[in-house]
């Protein structure tokens, strides 16, 4: 209530909040806020990437074997393409939001949503395969090594694999929820999203999800080389 009161009093842009002087200040503040949030996300994943690097460094052999033998590069590559494409369509969504083209904006958002479902679908296929092969860390973990390497470290590999791709998937799921909300609000012509800033902020989030996958893909599926 206080917010509305302030708006009326100041006669501001309808989506401008009372604490800001003008829309420009508000937008820039959102961008700074969003980026500092992404910094926390970088550090959040960073902890896991550090753990991965250290275990990888100390157990290069088994990590290579586990990655190459049990993770399928084609699926990973396909998912990379899916995510990159979704990133493109998200960028276009922001573009059309800036151009105030509501229909195209919704189409782009819908396509991004579709991509994220495809991504999760492929991920689910991969995970169910790992479940079936008892690669889920825990009591039922089983791993057969061709080169007779330590299975304990294989468990660490899958532990990190599930933790990192799982955390990434959680981000995708959160992204899906946000996209649905955004889409509904845009379709309903709500003033809050009519302005492009919420879409742009979601776009930043979605591109960040993409960046995480850009690193996860080579780390788990590719390196150091198929020989």
């Amino acid at each position: 209530m206080s917010v509305e009161a302030a708006h009326d009093a100041h006669g501001h842009h309808p989506v401008q909040y009372h604490q800001f002087e003008d829309m420009e200040q508000q937008n820039e503040t959102y961008i700074v806020g969003m980026w500092s949030f992404l910094v926390t996300e970088i550090m959040f994943f960073g902890g896991l990437f550090l753990a991965y690097s250290i275990f990888r460094m100390n157990n290069q052999a088994i990590f290579t074997e586990a990655g190459h033998r049990y993770l399928e590069v084609d699926k990973g590559a396909f998912n990379t393409v899916v995510l990159l494409t979704s990133s493109l369509s998200m960028a276009m969504c922001v573009y059309y939001a800036q151009k105030a083209d509501r229909v195209k904006q919704l189409l782009c958002l819908g396509f991004t949503l579709l991509c994220s479902f495809v991504f999760l679908g492929v991920k689910a296929m991969e995970w169910s395969k790992e479940f079936a092969e008892h690669h889920l860390p825990g009591a039922n973990f089983a791993y057969v090594s061709d080169a007779h390497l330590s299975t304990a470290k294989a468990q660490i590999f899958f532990c990190l694999y599930f933790a990192m791709t799982g955390l990434h998937a959680i981000h995708v799921i959160v992204g899906i929820l946000l996209m649905v909300v955004l889409g509904v609000l845009i379709a309903a012509r709500r003033p809050g999203v009519k302005y492009y800033m919420p879409v742009e902020m979601f776009g930043l989030y979605w591109h960040f999800v993409d960046i995480v996958w850009i690193f996860l893909f080579p780390l788990f599926y590719l390196i150091p080389g198929k020989r």
């Binding site: 290069q60 052999a61 090594s145 080169a147 007779h148 390497l149 330590s150 299975t151 304990a152 470290k153």
Partner: protein
């Protein structure tokens, strides 16, 4: 000990060095603290509100002054740092003649074994003064910390990893042994005493078999028994065979592994080879050896390592020790000659007594351990 102690005993070669640095740091601290306190008090009182003093031309910045009071702390700090490096680094690097003591921490007791004479002790350590001892420390469950304040010596006992530290005691007497890393319910009771003895007393103590010595065997002997019991010799023969490499002269040798790496056959390597043999698989061999990860506890693995060590050193071949170990008498049954073995007036009352001759095979149950997860069963 008096009732108003200020500084602990200096009972090792490190103690003096640490105390010197401590003293220097304390001088610095006192100097700067007195300086700051005096300045604050004098200035605050002098320039209290209402006092009639000259406040003309107050300055609010002065780069030269800033540099002047930044540089000395920086230089002093770096001097202190450099001074500290030597004792710290030395503690990582035991002298060549250091006798090894193997330490296992488990909730909530310390289990120690002298490599030279095989005497095993619980929550007590007897050492002679004037001789260096290397401690190889590992934990069977959670992280513990092996801490002897009078020696200014501390090293964590990590599960799954050998940490080493060494000391040379300088003062006969009884010194506290604490667990410094929080380890659960009876953390504060996990400790005991280190007895530093004169060399003569120590020799007598050793002759008598030690306080709580396990008279059955030296670690090499125990390792040999295990070796036989587990039938390791079926594959690991005197010479390299098709099925397995020989363990003679293994210790200290460079090994080329299946995974392309090379490793030096040290304690850690052999421990790994017993627990996860596929990780240390040599080039040219198949992985037929099972893992003994779940069936051997740290004590038994250590015994095996000691036995393998006794089979000769790959870098400087000496089989003498092996022969000695095999022929050494199993130790007398004379525990009464030990010095006072119970802590007097100490606060470590509830350490569960572990019987003297308890076989090493069942340590998981010793000391009232609630975990028993790694108990050695064959």
């Amino acid at each position: 000990m008096n009732n108003f102690p200020l500084v602990p005993d200096q009972a090792s070669t490190f103690a003096k060095q640490v105390d010197d640095i401590f003293l220097a740091l304390t001088s610095l601290t006192v100097f700067f603290t007195v300086l700051v306190f005096t300045l604050i008090l004098v200035l605050a009182i002098r320039y209290r509100r209402g006092s009639n003093v000259n406040r003309a031309n107050p300055s609010d910045h002065n780069v030269l002054v800033e540099i002047a009071w930044t540089t000395p702390p920086l230089i002093l700090g770096l001097i202190m740092f450099v001074w500290n490096v030597k004792p710290y680094a030395e503690a990582f690097n035991p002298p060549a003649n250091a006798e090894e003591i193997f330490v296992i921490g488990k909730r909530w007791m310390w289990h120690l074994q002298h490599s030279a004479n095989g005497i095993r002790e619980n929550n007590e350590l007897h050492v002679p003064m004037g001789r260096p001892f290397k401690l190889t420390i590992i934990s069977q469950d959670v992280i513990h910390g092996f801490y002897v304040p009078d020696f200014r010596m501390k090293r964590d006992a990590m599960p799954g990893q050998y940490n080493t530290v060494w000391f040379q005691a300088t003062k006969p007497g009884k010194h506290h042994l604490f667990c410094s890393e929080y380890c659960g319910t009876n953390h504060s009771e996990m400790g005991g005493w280190v007895y530093v003895m004169t060399p003569e007393d120590y020799n007598n103590w050793v002759k008598s078999g030690g306080t709580t010595a396990d008279k059955a065997s030296t670690p090499e002997q125990a390792g040999y028994d295990l070796f036989t019991q587990l039938a390791c010799g079926n594959c690991h023969k005197d010479k390299d065979s098709m099925r397995a490499p020989s363990l003679h002269n293994l210790f200290g040798r460079h090994r080329s592994l299946q995974n392309g790496q090379t490793a030096i056959a040290d304690d850690t390597y052999i421990r790994k080879a017993i627990r996860n043999p596929e990780e240390t698989l040599l080039q040219g061999y198949n992985a037929t050896m099972p893992s003994y990860k779940d069936s051997l506890d740290e004590q038994q693995i250590h015994d095996l390592i000691m036995y393998i060590k006794s089979l000769g050193n790959g870098s400087a071949v000496s089989l003498q020790k092996a022969t000695e170990a095999a022929t050494k008498p199993a130790g007398g049954a004379n525990p009464s000659a030990a010095p006072a073995s119970q802590p007097v007036g100490s606060a470590t009352p509830a350490v569960p007594a572990v019987s003297a001759g308890q076989p090493a095979a069942a340590p998981g149950t010793a000391g009232g351990s609630a975990t028993g997860t790694v108990g050695g069963k064959f």
